[in-house]
């Protein structure tokens, strides 16, 4: 148990010690999106009645920051440890696979949620944000950050160099998040693209998260939850199996 707590603390410290890059920078990025998009589109777009575009945009931006940072934390921590070789410090001790998994998972979720919270708080300076269903909001924040932490762990285990991670980032994470309705409602899309979007898990994360704030969404949050929970379970199981097999970590 203490082994797990220590690994979790270490992983938290790792990003906290360089929070300018790991927390402050992503908040600033999200803020720039908010300023630019809301400036350009505020007058032209209204998705939900009574909700300004800037307010509509906020949950999407928060969620996008959560996802990208949850992914970045586990994946970059693992690849750095693998490349510098100091991964042996966590492979030598008697930590179980479960402890290893949970520590990386929770630390990554923590970073994702911390950045998300930061974006939300700074965003409040620019717009009012209702909070219709805090429980839905939390449910989607937690499950979504867990999913992307798992993907981050998997990617960190699989990748041999930073280029591999950049590949996943550019060809998977960014397209999935941008094509999920961060900046728009999918109802504004042609039917074909609406159908495609329904296969994108990130769509459910953002849509459900948004429901937590406005009580309105494109699909029912229950449907979203029905997508998220199995996804969390499947990815966790996959990660645990991979850790147990020693894939790429124990030759």
């Amino acid at each position: 148990m203490l082994g797990f707590v220590t690994l979790l603390q270490k992983e938290l410290l790792r990003f906290w010690k360089v929070m300018l890059q790991t927390v402050a920078a992503p908040i600033l990025t999200a803020l720039l999106y908010l300023l630019i998009f809301s400036h350009v589109l505020e007058e032209h777009v209204q998705v939900y009645p009574g909700v300004s575009y800037t307010a509509f945009l906020m949950p999407g931006l928060i969620m996008m920051s959560v996802l990208q940072n949850a992914f970045a934390n586990a994946s970059s921590s693992l690849i750095q440890s693998k490349i510098t070789g100091n991964i042996v410090f966590v492979l030598l001790p008697p930590l179980s696979y479960g402890e290893f998994f949970l520590a990386y998972l929770l630390a990554s979720m923590a970073r994702g949620l911390m950045v998300g919270l930061g974006v939300g708080l700074v965003g409040l300076v620019f717009t009012d944000l209702p909070l219709a269903h805090p429980v839905w909001m939390l449910a989607f924040a937690l499950t979504a950050s867990a999913v992307f932490s798992c993907i981050g762990i998997l990617a960190g285990i699989w990748a041999d160099k930073f280029d591999h991670l950049a590949g996943i980032q550019n060809f998977l994470i960014v397209p999935l998040t941008f094509l999920s309705g961060v900046f728009y409602s999918i109802h504004s899309l042609p039917t074909f693209w609406q159908t495609i979007s329904h296969w994108n898990p990130v769509f459910y994360m953002i849509d459900g998260f948004r429901h937590g704030f406005f009580g309105q969404s494109d699909v029912s949050p229950w449907l979203g939850l029905a997508v998220m929970l199995p996804l969390v379970l499947i990815l966790s199981a996959l990660t645990l199996l991979l850790l147990r097999s020693g894939y790429k970590l124990r030759h």
Binding site: L2, G3, T6, K10, G85, N86, P93, P94, L95
Partner: protein, 299 residues
Amino acid sequence: MAAAIRARGLEKRYRTVHALRGVDLEVEQGEFFALLGPNGAGKTTFISILAGLVRATAGRAEVMGHDVVTDYREARRRLGVVPQELVFDPFFTVRETLRIQSGYYGLRRNDAWIDELLHHLGLTGKADTNMRRLSGGMKRRVLVAQALVHRPPVIVLDEPTAGVDVELRQSLWAFIRQLNREGHTILLTTHYLEEAETLCERVAMLKDGHIVALDRTEHLLGADSERRLELRLSPARLPEALKGRLIDCDDDRFCLALPDYGELEAMLAALRLEGIQVEELNVTQADLEDVFLRVMRQP
């Protein structure tokens, strides 16, 4: 009593390399044991299998009676490994590094022991220095300390003295010896064979993944049979009576077998008889390096 380390038919194939080809080895509790071999012989691979960093292709290994795969948590609790590669976590100071490592082993308040380790390894003044700012030798010392935070009964050192200055080498060995006296089992790999010779009771030599020699150090050194007399003579010529003893010569130097000190006087008399002067005289004993080279040369 379970062996400190036991390997049975251990094999490891990397994609194209057969790094270990069936290694059987037992190291008893309390031994100071050397695992020697040229670069690429498979020493690090063997150690990595013990530590669970590498999975064996075939065979099994145990640490203090605990299988390193099926009972990995118990095995790892009992093992401390100083890795060959100089690795460190640049995010932390020396003390933070050691506290974190203690935590991984479930030890909460370990500072008394950490301070002792820092003291023995000459790191007390560096406790609050970031790992990045340490010299190479200092980082190596921290690696040693990290391997010892949980006071493992079995300590494995993979070339711990590479790049370490004379003073620390001596204080490190004094410390490791003390741990050995207190009952810790030590397995050591090194390319400084005189270290192995003076420290280790038993030696295994590994070549291309095979154990090619395994014996007590003094047996390997072969007691007296290898003693030699080295002479520089003027004129550079050997009396007929001594030619049978000649092992090696170049120019005015001659190397003769000297199985027994009692024969020295007769040999010198033979030289005197022919008016040959001894300009230099050395008695040498085969050391582990000679034995090592001989063993490695055998096909």
